[in-house]
């Protein structure tokens, strides 16, 4: 198309069944289109593979957070009860390590969980007053595949044909999502 100012234009295709979405997404990718993102009402299994999305690193963050919690918990207890202000409690040693395990465990879990969630929200830029646009019915029963028109070589009609083959019910074009 001539007068198309590309770069920040997008093409969105609407599907009714996740099978079509997956197929469409995969084919579009192989056909050289740049799949910008996919929007679904629920996590569609196989989607990540179809759009070749690398696995998330959040697992590691959660692990490290847990480690942090563990160290913090243990240090807090040993320091307060054995070094900062040692008290003879029930004739037990100042550093009653075995008795510190429960709290250490709880703090491990707490840190890991909270930090993981926090990072998730940050990474997804989810926050209370977020004003992000949402495709119509995508939170209900629509599956949307969005391509970015990275350069002038983008052939809209090709895309439309491809999508139609996968029972897209509607294809739209536009700019400035997200």
């Amino acid at each position: 198309m001539p007068n198309i100012e590309s770069a920040k234009r997008f093409t969105a295709a609407f599907f009714e069944r996740e099978e079509d979405l997956i197929a469409g997404a995969a084919e579009a990718r192989l056909a050289g289109f740049e799949v910008y993102d996919v929007y679904t009402p629920f996590p569609v299994h196989g989607m990540d593979r179809a759009v070749a999305l690398p696995p998330s690193r959040l697992t590691w963050i959660a692990f490290l957070a847990g480690a942090l919690g563990l160290v913090f918990g243990l240090t807090l207890q040993v320091w307060t009860s054995a070094y900062d202000w040692p008290l003879n409690v029930g004739g037990k040693p100042f550093n009653s390590f075995p008795l510190f395990i429960p709290v250490t465990f709880e703090l491990t879990v707490l840190f890991s969980g909270l930090i993981a969630i926090g990072v998730l929200f940050a990474r997804n830029r989810m926050w209370l007053f977020s004003k992000r646009k949402v495709f119509e019915r995508v939170t209900d029963d629509r599956f949307v595949l969005v391509l970015r028109q990275s350069d002038a070589s983008f052939d809209f009609h090709k895309a439309v044909r491809l999508f139609s083959r996968h029972n897209a019910i509607k294809v739209i074009e536009g700019d400035q999502f997200v």
């Binding site: 008290l87 003879n88 409690v89 029930g90 004739g91």
Partner: protein
């Protein structure tokens, strides 16, 4: 608070600038008792309190052990004095903090009580601050000044003088020589005047019997400490009889095994209801009331025969068929033991029948007790007049022959056996003057009331035992407009001197010459005040001889009187350890002290034997109506193991109606069942007993009687002890090294062999540590707050149980289970081995209480009232008053430990053994509690813990308590060790 008080105080000082005591009643006298003046009075009386907190008594008083006379704020001074609780007049040290007496403790230097005190004595501090005390004189229940009332009375007495009418002075037992002088002086003014002493619980028979047997009209002093064998017929000498503290001291001394003695006093008790004394006996024989007499007769006969005394002929044997086999066997054993203990045996009887006492004297004479275990020269000096005299007085009053009656310190309108007769009588008396300190049953009948000061506010001297003199020092200026009763009498006999001067003068004239130690009188006087006692070396009168004439008629009288009649249920009246005769029934401390035997508080009750209860379908708490002629009483039933089936027992001293808020209508008044037959008798027959529909739940601090076969109180026989059987030592391993206690390691040993369960420690602790009183309902809910309790267990046959006492307070465990569970570190271990409770950190989870196997922790369920400004004066400033929602418990009196530590540090010396004594130890009459430093291996407590009798409670839990117990030893064979 302080500012406003200071204001009033200054005002008062201005007004008292002329040196005369500030007289608050001027105003009220003008306006009568209007609401306004009432408020003023109220205001001033509180002001007077604030004032009294800041001023010492007018006369020079001398503190114990060369301390400076002036009060150092925050530092306690100790004054030697005597207890006015009963006529035994034990030596006390009064702890005075910031001008307020806050505690009585035993005076170790006192030759008789030597440091012991009873529960009642500890209650005395409360009676000083009793809000119910009268605060100014009253004429016909109208507030008056002393001026007015003195004029009124002198004028009326003048009239009596003119008419030569009869005047009577009715007091309790008075032993003070100076007081007696004062009485004489006062009574001398009148034509027909007489001083009558009246004791609701009389021991007159002993006096009469000795009059008959030895020609000595007095109660001898019994030396339990010198005895090796004591045989008691229903005498509760450890609990309430004559001078329990002195007797307990001697008894414990003679039974002590604390210095590895190999033998100890043996104690046999014949009694009908389970008394404190009986519960401690090595052999206790349960007999009915009449059987008791027969047993005594039989014993007398056996003794007479075996010592082949010429009196043996005098005996006609009692009907042996009426003695149970068991009793006979016991008596024959006892008889042989008695004859094997010449000069070291002692027989006593609680009966108030002169015949019985005469027989007792005979036995004592036959086994050579006189001069050894019984001292007829140092006789008890109280109760000069016989029971017969008050009977006569009441008759005369009713006949209208008495024109003036002055009453001091007695309350016949409550405790006279024929109350109504007395009340009717006194109304016929034109001039009735009461010197009592509260508006009690009798005082409310008087037309002139001259409230006397509390013994802690007044000078006095006493001579409880001939030759032993003590001065009672005031430790605070009178809180209210009161006056020592002797002073009132002085006024009315036209003598302007203060009683203080009178005492000094009589001492200068009488006692000072008798001694050679001190050159000047002042020196002598000061020394006496400091030590609290002086013993005059009066010439030993030659020992009286036993007059055996009349033995014949006595025995025959007894034999006929003691013959069993059909269905004869006997009633025995006894004094409870806490309330005694009921004079101080308004003390909540005494009311809430669990009875050592029944553990019931705030009530009296009818004790019956388990078998009797079963046969007549009575259950615990069932209210029954007991009646005999006009006398009638409704009380709940208490089923008492160890009581004879033919006997019901009731404690006197309850059922006051005008004692005050705490004492009114607690229990029922059993005095009406007292009978008179030459002397007052505290037994009755031919009573009838009917069930009612009602039932009550007792406020009991312990409801489980049995030890459940758990080795809690360990017991040995004397042989087991001497041969070292039944000893055991426990070893506990540990996963980690224990904490070390560099400076001190406080420990405590409780000698269960010495402890008789008298419960004095409970009240001593309550007074020292500001332990709140919670009241009947809360005790019922099991929320009593005592930091130390006496566990009492019955073991074996419920009909003849073995009784055990075990004082339990915080055991200060090294591995304290309470500490490790507290989430906020509110209870931790000190570097001196104390288990500390941090009140202001406690959030009150009660987890520590749950996890304490000894259950010695006490929780503040409510904000316990400390609202009464007067009662609050009794609080010990060294101990925090705990607020609602925090846990509290025994601290080994940490405040005392710190006090001594500071003292020692200031003087740059080490702490001496026994220098620190917790409240419970200090006044224990039996020396059963020993506190000390375990790091000091020579300390008494460290030594005792080496004993073979030493064991820790619940040892298997390995809590490593700092408190341990020394096993009980019974001086009889069949006992088998529980260890």
């Amino acid at each position: 608070m302080s500012r406003s008080v200071n204001k009033i105080w200054q005002e008062l000082l201005e007004r008292t600038a002329d040196g005369k005591p500030f007289d608050l009643s001027e105003k009220s006298a003008i306006a009568g008792i209007s609401r306004r003046t009432f408020l003023e009075v109220l205001g001033y009386s509180t002001a007077a309190l604030a004032l009294s907190g800041c001023r010492a008594p007018e006369q020079a008083i001398v503190p114990y052990l060369k301390q400076p006379v002036e009060f150092t704020p925050g530092v306690a001074s100790w004054f030697a004095s005597v207890c006015g609780g009963c006529s035994a007049a034990c030596g006390t040290l009064v702890k005075v903090r910031d001008g307020r007496p806050i505690k009585l403790e035993g005076n170790p230097d006192h030759p008789l009580s030597s440091g012991g005190l009873c529960a009642l004595a500890h209650g005395m501090v409360f009676s000083l601050y009793d809000p119910e005390r009268l605060r100014q004189p009253l004429i016909a229940s109208r507030v008056a000044t002393w001026q007015e009332i003195d004029n009124e009375i002198t004028q009326k007495l003048g009239a009596v003088k003119q008419s030569g009418g009869r005047i009577r002075l009715l007091t309790g037992p008075i032993t003070g020589p100076t007081s007696l002088e004062t009485f004489k002086k006062f009574l001398a003014q009148f034509a027909d005047a007489k001083h009558i002493t009246y004791q609701p619980v009389s021991t007159d028979a002993i006096r009469q019997a000795h009059q008959r047997s030895h020609g000595v009209n007095a109660i001898p002093s019994y030396r339990f400490d010198k005895a090796r064998l004591v045989v008691s017929f229903g005498a509760d000498f450890l609990g309430t009889w004559i001078s329990p503290v002195v007797f307990t001291r001697g008894y414990a001394k003679a039974r002590s095994l604390q210095n590895d003695e190999r033998e100890m006093l043996r104690h046999v008790q014949f009694e009908s209801h389970l008394s404190l004394t009986g519960s401690n006996a090595d052999t206790r024989v349960k007999v009915s009331l009449r059987e008791e007499t027969r047993a005594l007769l039989y014993l007398a006969m056996l003794v007479a025969e075996s010592v082949a005394s010429d009196n043996a002929s005098g005996f006609s044997s009692p009907d042996l068929a009426q003695l149970t086999y068991k009793t006979r066997a016991a008596l024959e054993l006892v008889a042989s033991e008695l004859t094997n203990h010449p000069g070291s045996a002692l027989v006593v009887s609680g009966s108030n029948d002169p015949d019985v006492q005469y027989l007792v004297n005979f036995i004592n004479h036959a086994v050579g007790s006189y001069g050894n275990t019984i001292n007829l020269t140092a006789t008890s000096a109280d109760n000069q007049s016989s029971d017969q005299e008050i009977i006569e007085l009441v008759r005369q009053m009713n006949a209208g022959e008495i024109s003036a009656l002055i009453i001091s310190g007695v309350n016949p309108a409550y405790d006279y056996f024929d109350r109504q007769a007395f009340i009717n009588g006194i109304q016929k008396v034109p001039l009735k003057i009461s010197l009592n300190s509260t508006m009690d049953e009798t005082t409310s009948l008087a037309d002139c009331v001259c409230p006397q000061s509390h013994f802690l506010e007044a000078w006095n001297d006493v001579e409880p035992v001939r030759g032993t003199f003590s001065v009672n020092q005031p430790t605070i200026a009178p809180l209210f407009q009161t006056r020592a009763f002797q002073e009132s009498l002085l006024r009315w006999s036209g003598d302007g001197r203060s009683f203080y001067e009178v005492i000094r003068q009589s001492w200068r004239e009488k006692l000072f010459p008798q001694q050679k130690q001190y050159a000047t009188f002042d020196e002598f006087w000061d020394q006496t005040l400091q030590k609290g006692v002086t013993v005059s070396e009066s010439a030993q009168s030659n020992p009286a001889v036993f007059k055996s004439d009349g033995l014949q008629e006595v025995t025959s009288r007894l034999i006929s009187s003691s013959r069993e009649t059909s269905d004869d249920l006997g009633l025995v009246l006894y004094q409870s350890v806490a309330l005694r005769d009921g004079q101080f029934a308004n003390s909540p401390w005494l009311q809430e002290l669990p009875d050592p035997i029944t553990k019931i508080t705030w009530d009296n009750y009818i004790s019956v034997s388990p078998r009797y209860a079963a046969s007549s379908g009575l259950e615990e708490g069932r209210i029954v109506r007991l009646s005999k002629g006009p006398a009638q009483i409704e009380l709940p039933v208490h089923i008492q193991p160890g009581q004879h089936d033919n006997v019901v027992a009731i404690a006197i001293g309850y059922g006051r109606t005008k004692a005050g808020k705490a004492g009114n209508n607690v229990g029922g008044n059993a005095y009406p069942f007292v009978t008179y037959d030459g002397t007052f008798r505290y037994q009755a027959f031919g009573i009838n007993l009917e069930k009612t529909a009602n039932r009550v739940e007792f406020a009991q601090s312990q409801s489980k009687d049995s030890m459940e076969d758990r080795p809690l109180v360990k017991e040995l026989t004397l042989t087991e002890y001497t041969t070292g059987e039944g000893e055991h030592h426990s070893e506990h391993g540990s996963l980690w090294s224990a904490h070390d206690y560099p400076e001190h390691k406080w420990g405590l040993a409780v000698d269960l062999n010495a402890c008789v369960g008298c419960s004095a420690c409970v009240l001593s602790c309550q007074a020292e540590n500001n332990v709140p009183v919670v009241g009947k309902d809360e005790v019922r809910r099991r929320r009593e707050m005592h930091w130390i309790r006496i566990d009492r267990y019955f073991e074996g046959d419920r009909e003849e149980p073995k009784v055990f006492y075990q004082p339990v307070m915080c055991q200060q465990c090294d591995n304290a289970s309470c500490e490790s569970v507290c989430p906020v570190l509110a209870t931790v271990h000190s570097s001196e081995g104390l288990n500390m409770q941090v009140y202001n950190r406690c959030v009150g989870t009660r987890y520590c209480e749950n996890n304490c196997p000894y259950k010695v922790r006490r929780f503040n369920w409510f904000e316990y009232s400390h609202s009464d400004p007067i009662a609050n004066l009794a609080l010990n400033p060294d101990v925090t008053v705990r607020s609602r929602g925090v846990m509290e418990k025994c601290t080994f009196c940490v405040q005392r430990i710190e006090e001594v530590k500071i003292k020692a540090r200031n003087e740059g010396r080490a702490i001496n053994d026994q220098e620190i004594q917790p409240a419970c130890q200090q006044s224990c009459p039996a020396n059963a509690i020993i506190f000390g430093d375990l790091t000091d291996l020579k300390s008494r407590v460290a030594q005792l813990k080496k004993s073979g009798r030493n064991y820790t409670l619940l040892d298997e839990l390995n809590l490593q308590p700092a408190l341990s117990y020394l096993a009980k030893v019974r001086n009889r064979e069949e006992v088998s060790s529980l260890a």
